[in-house]
């Protein structure tokens, strides 16, 4: 709707000359290509070393770049080469994409931009006109987690539950469909995933009485291909896990799906995780496992049919919101997924059948004392709250463990790098007041204890911790790893850091100006490697300063922002 095209459109589909950037003496004409993104490119995204083609970089969701021009030996020479303002504040949760020198990046408040990835020149921007009141129906800010690209289009979801396809060359809307009613708190922040010609998305809204879902749309038309509710309806497996005191518990049981899934083409299986039940902390009237909340679903990508699942936190009364990503890895000849959960455990699960292999503590865990041989967590009854029972020092607090910010898997080192925290909480459940479009948290008291941040590297084979870096605040960015032996992560204070992936030594740091709650990427144009990171503090930050205290009270009045900083080596 609000497209501002700053340059001319091309005459062919393959090449369009969109801007000529004079850079002083010796300036060269910059050409921007809009290479069609094919299924083959997506299936082989790991080998597309120049590009970053989907939120998790590849269908396995590794966030590992094979680029190594920037490495442990020279990372200290990394300097900012361009920056880009989104023109809006609040949570910048995005992961940018890069296709042959063109970056597509979303921001808070429903915006998307196409940018020349060499110099930050804007090619076009699109501002979806948001209803003024939408923030009232979003628990955790008017953010967005990124876009998806396929053929000649770029796709993104908006807070008011539109899924929009834009022409990648011009930014013009190709189609715009509304898939849910935001006035009842059905909202969207997810970065879509393209699978077999469909754009797959998942809903937000589990802090409100909702019944959420995962949905696939035709990339050409936006027509719905399938919708799978994350809470089974009558007659479906798992429907009877919502207790017998409230016949409508399942209809309003939440189960969000706002973290992008992953896809195994060989098994032709889509993996997508599901978040917390509603009400978040009050389990009184939903006694049972509350399927499929806090689970990863294995889905048929053609039909959305559920093949199997693994549940991380049955009957969640801690708001452990298990919709975090699944990273697909092949380790010791076994096809597994790795999942870091807010319940404090890092999981390794057989992705051919959903069988539990191991769960290891990322941070201190006391809500559970371990696992049954089948992989069901053994709940510590001392940490279960109800209306009459305040429980103290529950570890971890609702944000983990590992919060939603995505971890990274380094396939060469077979190590997984987890942004984390050590924060515990006191909880007293409260009666729920179900009303559509209104918060329904089921909490009377919550008090986060002061804690600290940590960045933890695990051996993905054994689950052994290899190293831990601690910091005053939790690591709130996504993680990037590279073949240059580096792991990048960021903090609420805005520090963007590079670590030696093998040993955890801090090698480089840069102050980006605002808290980092998005995810860094690596890409290459004309033989030069770049690192990009969004910054802009926001989102659910109650854990930090709740009630004037909280897990990281020094973050009170932390600076907001809204920009992207891109780095390269000095010549």
């Amino acid at each position: 709707m609000h497209v501002r095209k700053q340059t001319s459109t091309g005459i062919s589909r393959l090449i369009a000359v969109l801007c000529a950037c004079l850079m002083g003496a010796g300036a060269a004409q910059a050409q921007v290509r809009h290479t069609p993104v094919t299924d083959a490119m997506l299936l082989n995204a790991q080998k597309e070393s120049n590009n970053w083609l989907m939120a998790g970089r590849d269908y396995s969701g590794t966030r590992f770049s094979p680029l190594k021009q920037i490495n442990t030996g020279n990372v200290k020479k990394l300097v900012p080469v361009w920056s880009f303002s989104f023109g809006v504040l609040d949570a910048q949760n995005t992961t940018p994409l890069v296709v042959d020198g063109v970056m597509y990046v979303t921001s808070s408040h429903g915006r998307i931009f196409a940018v020349d990835a060499r110099n930050g020149s804007m090619l076009w921007q699109y501002h979806h006109p948001l209803p003024e009141e939408v923030g009232k129906f979003m628990c955790c800010d008017v953010g967005n987690r990124g876009a998806a690209v396929y053929k000649d289009k770029v796709f993104y979801a908006t807070p008011d539950s539109h899924v929009i396809a834009l022409d990648r060359a011009t930014g013009k809307v190709v189609w715009d469909v509304t898939i849910a009613d935001w006035t009842k708190a059905y909202t969207m922040t997810v970065a879509p995933l393209i699978v077999k010609g469909k754009v797959v998305v998942g809903m937000s809204g589990a802090e409100y009485p909702t019944r959420l879902w995962i949905e696939a749309l035709d990339t050409e038309t936006g027509k719905q291909a399938w919708r799978t509710y994350t809470i089974p309806g009558p007659g479906e497996f798992g429907h009877d896990t919502w207790g017998n005191t409230d016949p409508d518990a399942w209809k309003f049981g939440g189960g969000s799906a706002w973290i992008t899934g992953s896809y195994d083409a060989e098994l032709d299986t889509l993996y997508w995780s599901v978040g917390n039940p509603n009400p978040d902390w009050d389990g009184t009237n939903r006694k049972g496992d509350n399927l499929y909340t806090n689970s990863t679903l294995a889905l048929n990508p053609d039909t959305g049919k559920i093949k199997f699942h693994y549940q991380y936190t049955p009957w969640d009364v801690w708001d452990y919101d298990g919709n975090n990503e699944t990273i697909l890895a092949d380790i010791d000849g076994k096809k597994v997924w790795l999942h870091g959960d807010r319940n404090g455990y890092l999981y390794k699960i057989d992705r051919t059948n959903g069988n539990f292999i191991w769960g290891k503590e990322i941070s201190k865990v006391n809500w559970s004392t371990g696992f049954t041989p089948e992989g069901r967590p053994i709940v510590n009854p001392e940490k279960v709250t109800n209306y009459d029972r305040k429980v103290t020092n529950v570890c971890p607090a609702s944000e983990g463990g590992k919060w939603w910010n995505p971890m990274s898997y380094h396939p060469q080192l077979q190590m997984v790098f987890v942004p984390s925290r050590e924060i515990c909480v006191d909880l007293l459940a409260g009666p729920s007041e179900r009303e559509e479009g209104k918060y329904n948290l089921g909490i009377a008291e919550a008090e986060w204890h002061k804690g600290h941040g940590q960045f933890v590297a695990f051996d993905a084979k054994s689950g052994e911790k290899k190293w831990t870096v601690t910091a005053p605040s939790p690591f709130t960015s996504g993680v990037l790893t590279t073949a240059g032996g580096l792991a990048f992560a960021g903090t609420p204070e805005g520090e963007f850091m590079a670590f030696d992936a093998r040993g955890g030594k801090t090698l480089w740091s840069y102050q980006t100006g605002s808290g980092i709650v998005g995810s860094p990427i690596a890409f290459s144009v004309d033989g030069k490697q770049y690192i990009a990171v969004p910054s802009g503090w926001g989102g659910w930050t109650g854990w930090a300063t709740w009630g004037g205290k909280g897990g990281a009270p020094h973050l009170k009045d932390n600076r907001k922002g809204g920009y992207l900083t891109v780095f390269a080596l000095t010549d």
């Binding site: 003024e132 008017v142 209104k438 659910w540």
Partner: protein, 128 residues
């Protein structure tokens, strides 16, 4: 023609472009909370704070969550009661703060202002 467009533009800016006038709720330059310090209004404001989900962003005691702490001295550069009233009623465009004019009448908004002010007073009294 240009002058007409400029005048139209100025009008749109003044009216917020949508027929609303996000200035004084009473039309005066400095509206005064008619319920300042009123115990019943404070109690009503406390109930409304939960009913319309203020607590979801600002926390149960208004000391900040996704939204800012409403009980300290630095919040929004020490706003007047009227400014708080207008932010609740009309929201802050381009931020998370939505307008609540369709959820609350003017009296109810003043009750909320009274409650927020009371929380600030209590916090000061505690020396926190």
């Amino acid at each position: 023609m240009k002058r007409f467009l400029l005048a139209l533009g100025a009008m749109l800016i003044l009216t917020g472009g949508a027929g609303e006038v996000p200035t004084s709720p009473s039309g005066s330059a400095n509206a005064v909370n008619p319920y300042e310090g009123d115990a019943d209004a404070i109690e009503s404001g406390a109930a409304l704070f939960r009913r319309v989900s203020c607590h979801g962003c600002h926390s149960g005691n208004a000391r900040g969550g996704t939204g800012p702490d409403l009980t300290d001295d630095v919040w929004m550069r020490q706003p007047s009661d009227e400014m708080i009233f207008n932010v609740i009623k009309f929201g802050r465009r381009g931020t998370m703060m939505s307008p609540f004019k369709d959820d609350l009448d003017d009296d109810q908004i003043w009750h909320l202002v009274s409650y927020i002010r009371e929380l600030g007073r209590l916090r000061k009294a505690e020396g926190d």
